[in-house]
């Protein structure tokens, strides 16, 4: 028997599927060969933001030899009631947003499907639409809860009295634009029916969830839907649940009796699969003259669609960041004739911490206090709103250690002081936080005749390194080298896993994997063990569990053009035990780079008259390119936390985008004296003030 001398967890093991990815043999949802009679589907999307679809006319001369079906609400099969109204595709004449799927063409070839969809005549009674988010909107309301189940409003103390009495206050409004997840792999499904069983090769972050949702819609027993998700080309939240493509592909396959592939075109992702809501956030801070916060007030306004209430939890991180005796947070929502917003990497925290952490920077300036020192002075001893002790909190250590590593110490606090050639140079910082969560999951461990082990769980690896990390966790729990462990994921028929979301994958799945492997190891009489973490997870205290971090940025702003470049971006994290430093570093860096996009580049541009975002492709919706990314580095503190899960790990997939935009914006101010409160900080907002 082989023995291990080294723990696998904590080792920088390379990605197990890496060789397949660099050779091009890793298969994604639209890449399965499923038979010679494969048909292709293409969606016809609404050209108006509001109205009714009264008819669809097919030109009989267009692609007549190849078109197999044209589906719309007038002829589509009736579906069962869906929990998510976006999955009730082609069921109603109502048009809720521009870009909504109104019809589906199925054809023998991709070329024919696309052409036929483009030439459908959609008969529409158009109605006036309303797509503009504003703080004075008469239909603003307070949602009952915000994502996923936080109270919408919290208050303690007397906020107004504290503001009236405070010697120093900041009252600022920050706006963040709608953002698009834009994973490199567009949402795609290959669907086929085998008798009454449905097989979906689908790109998503939660195979069991997609299987359940699709089963509900088609009124099938859940076990009759089989979702295969071997590799996922990124999701960032946009693939967290079934999207219309899965239902449309399955419907098309049922109607035509053929396997059907539906790969959404890039442009469709900008309306059909979710986005990050725009926000308008008012943050008010009151402080004593020595920099102790006496009141925090954070109100966030965002939109949702007519179809579905998604209430981004924008102000929630403000509830635990800083101590203050008087505090209030709230959310307002308005339903607009817009696509449904959904999760995008760190929903809530990412936009919310822009407003809070930039406001903190503004307060530090008003107080003439170093922004790190301001934060240190307001470090809470327990979670401020719940009163629950933190399971671990090393925010101050992140600030201090990060400042040291970044070289913050000799910073001149005054803006617009450093010039090198045409460049104004400045530095900025901001805090970061992300909740530490775990969700119930089940894993199975098997001893194979070869002596190796197979560990199965219906998780997914969308680039996080999950497949590799679960192998490491299993190896340690079994007490064997990783070479003896084969982890099977990406299949809804495996033991039920939670979603790859909320930075909770490793914690949730690792918990179940640990349990199953330990059970197998302790029972030599059986070759199989199954472990369901539900009970343990549910009895866990939920409050007081967070990862923390600090972001530091150095930017240069071109005095001639107003262009901003990020010379250095640095993150220091306290995120529990780091399970795999190689993949963890990549996760942190990736989040920070997406944060750079949020700060400087990314914005869905609304045309209110057209009722849509006009820059709906990757040429015009600018995600960071190679050349935008200069020095980006991440480090972390060793953090022990035995209250969170068996591995002691906190989620790391999202914290990198939390606070990094604020650090960059604060650095832009320091470089130029220009405070950009309306993201992104593009040159046209800076140049006129230089």
């Amino acid at each position: 028997m082989t023995t291990t001398t080294e723990r696998a967890v904590g080792q920088p093991i390379g990605r197990i599927e890496g060789p397949d990815k660099v050779r091009g043999t890793a298969r994604y949802a639209a890449e399965y060969q499923v038979g010679d009679d494969l048909a292709y589907a293409w969606v016809a999307q609404s050209p108006v933001a509001r109205g009714t679809l009264t008819g669809v006319t097919v030109d009989p001369l267009v692609e007549a030899d190849d078109v197999l079906a044209v589906l719309w609400h007038g002829n589509a099969p009736r579906l069962g009631a869906a929990d998510d109204p976006e999955l009730a595709v082609l069921q109603s004449d109502r048009i809720s947003y521009r870009g909504q799927a109104l019809a589906l063409v199925v054809a023998r070839t991709l070329e024919a499907a696309r052409r036929a969809a483009a030439t459908l005549s959609l008969e529409i009674d158009e109605e006036p639409h309303d797509c503009v988010l504003r703080t004075e909107h008469p239909d603003l309301y307070t949602p009952e809860k915000v994502n996923p189940a936080f109270p919408s409003e919290t208050t303690s103390g007397d906020v107004e009295a504290a503001f009236a009495a405070a010697p120093v206050t900041v009252d600022v409004t920050y706006r963040t634009p709608p953002l698009h997840n834009s994973p490199m792999e567009p949402h795609a499904t290959t669907a086929l029916w085998a008798n009454d069983d449905l097989v979906l090769y689908d790109s998503n972050q939660h195979p069991p969830g997609v299987a359940a949702a699709v089963a509900t819609v088609f009124e099938l027993p859940p076990e009759r839907v089989h979702v295969i998700t071997e590799h996922v080309g990124g999701g960032f939240g946009s693939k967290g649940s079934a999207r219309p493509n899965a239902v449309l592909a399955a419907m098309a396959a049922r109607v035509t009796g053929r396997p059907v592939r539906l790969a959404l075109p890039r442009q469709a992702l900008f309306s059909m699969v979710g986005h990050r809501t725009p926000t308008i956030q008012r943050v008010r801070l009151a402080a004593s003259s020595d920099g102790h916060l006496t009141a925090i007030d954070h109100l966030a306004v965002s939109h949702t669609s007519r179809l579905f209430e998604f209430a981004e939890q924008t102000a929630v991180s403000t509830r635990h960041m800083y101590a203050a005796p008087n505090r209030r947070t709230g959310h307002r929502l308005v339903r607009l004739d817009m696509p449904t917003p959904r999760w995008m990497r760190a929903p809530g925290e990412a936009p919310g911490m822009v407003a809070l952490e930039c406001a903190m920077d503004e307060l530090a300036v008003a107080l003439e206090l170093d922004p790190i020192e301001l934060r240190v002075r307001n470090e809470p001893t327990v979670e401020p709103e719940s009163g629950v002790p933190f399971s671990s909190r090393h925010y101050v250590e992140c600030l201090r250690r990060g400042a040291e590593r970044f070289g913050w110490g000799d910073r001149d606090p005054r803006p617009k002081q450093r010039r090198e050639g045409d460049w104004w140079i400045g530095t900025g910082m901001a805090g970061a936080t992300y909740p530490t969560m775990a969700q119930p999951s089940t894993a199975r461990a098997r001893r194979l005749p070869s002596g190796d082990y197979e560990v199965s769980i219906a998780a997914t690896d969308l680039g996080t390194g999950a497949r590799t990390i679960l192998t490491q966790i299993a190896a340690d729990a079994l007490g064997v080298p990783v070479s003896q462990v084969r982890v099977r994921i990406g299949d809804s028929t495996l033991p039920k896993a939670s979603v790859a979301g909320g930075s909770s994958g490793s914690a949730s799945w690792g918990w179940a994997v640990t349990g199953a492997c330990q059970a197998l190891r302790s029972n030599s009489s059986s070759d199989e063990a199954v472990f369901d973490s539900t009970e343990l997870v549910q009895k866990q205290e939920k409050d007081g569990k967070h990862a923390f971090g600090a972001h530091f940025a150095e930017v240069r702003v071109d005095a001639v053009t107003g262009e901003v470049r990020v010379s250095r971006l640095f993150g220091m994290y306290a995120a529990g035990r780091i399970l795999n430093p190689r993949t963890a570093r990549s996760q942190f860096l990736g989040g920070m780079i997406m944060g750079m996009g949020m700060a400087l580049h990314e914005e869905a541009v609304l045309d209110p008259a057209m009722g849509t975002w006009v820059n709906h492709d990757l040429a015009e919706y600018h995600v960071p390119a190679h050349a935008d990314v200069e020095s980006v580095e991440a480090e972390w503190l060793e953090e022990q936390d035995d209250q969170i899960n068996p591995m002691g790990s906190k989620g790391i997939g999202e914290i990198g985008i939390v606070g990094s935009p604020a650090a960059i914006l604060n650095a832009v101010w320091h470089a130029t004296g220009v405070r950009v409160r309306d993201l992104p900080a593009r040159l046209d907002k800076i140049l006129p003030h230089l």
Binding site: G14, R15, E17, G18, P19, D20, K21, V22, R23, G24, A26, R27, Y28, A30, E31, Q33, T109, L110, E111, A112, R115, S182, P183, M184, E185, P186, H231, V232, G233, G234, F236, A263, P265, R266, L462, G463, T464, G465, R582, T583, R585, S586, Q587, L589, G590, G591, M592, I593, M594, D617, L618, A619, V623, P624, A625, H626, A627, V629, V632, E633
Partner: protein, 156 residues
């Protein structure tokens, strides 16, 4: 029409609208080249045509009669091993395009081609690698790991 892919000749009867990318993925089963945008805006579909990197999504297959196409399935280059070593990818979807692009790019550097940030005759700096690779988007943000991978693959 005849298409030579990774040294193998294929006889195809294609709709003239078929792009090289769709010919590879839907007709030849070579799914290594990815469809990220289908409009030349992301680089995931990058392949080599007679050794030069191109966006296969914007090339009509019918125009290629006789041209040598190399896809990721036909690439065997040190940059692949370096991507593994440096964790130069996460989700992997842009990766075949990044690798084909890097292979083509290093050949351009060898020919002394300039870039927007270099004259082509000087040292291949990190800034130069980034500029030359900017036609390949990576939403996971694996850029900082790809740069040393490419630099080392170039033997620098």
């Amino acid at each position: 029409m005849d298409l030579v892919v990774n040294g193998v000749e294929h006889s195809l009867d294609l709709d003239p609208r078929t792009t090289l990318l769709d010919a590879l993925r839907e007709h030849l089963g070579l799914t290594g080249a990815k469809k990220g945008c289908d409009h030349g805006q992301c680089g995931a579909c990058t392949v080599l045509l007679n050794g030069r990197r191109v966006n296969s999504c914007l090339i009509l297959a019918v125009t290629l009669d006789g041209t040598e196409v190399t896809t990721i399935e036909g690439v065997d280059h040190p940059v692949q091993e370096k991507f593994l070593e440096h964790d130069g990818f996460q989700c992997g979807y842009c990766t075949p395009g990044q690798i084909c692009s890097a292979v083509g790019m290093l050949d351009e550097v060898a020919k002394g081609w300039p870039s927007a940030v270099s004259t082509g005759e000087d040292h291949l700096s990190d800034a130069d690698i980034k500029e030359r690779m900017s036609g390949n988007l990576c939403r996971c943000g694996a850029y900082p790991n790809m740069v040393p991978a490419i630099r080392e693959a170039a033997g620098r």
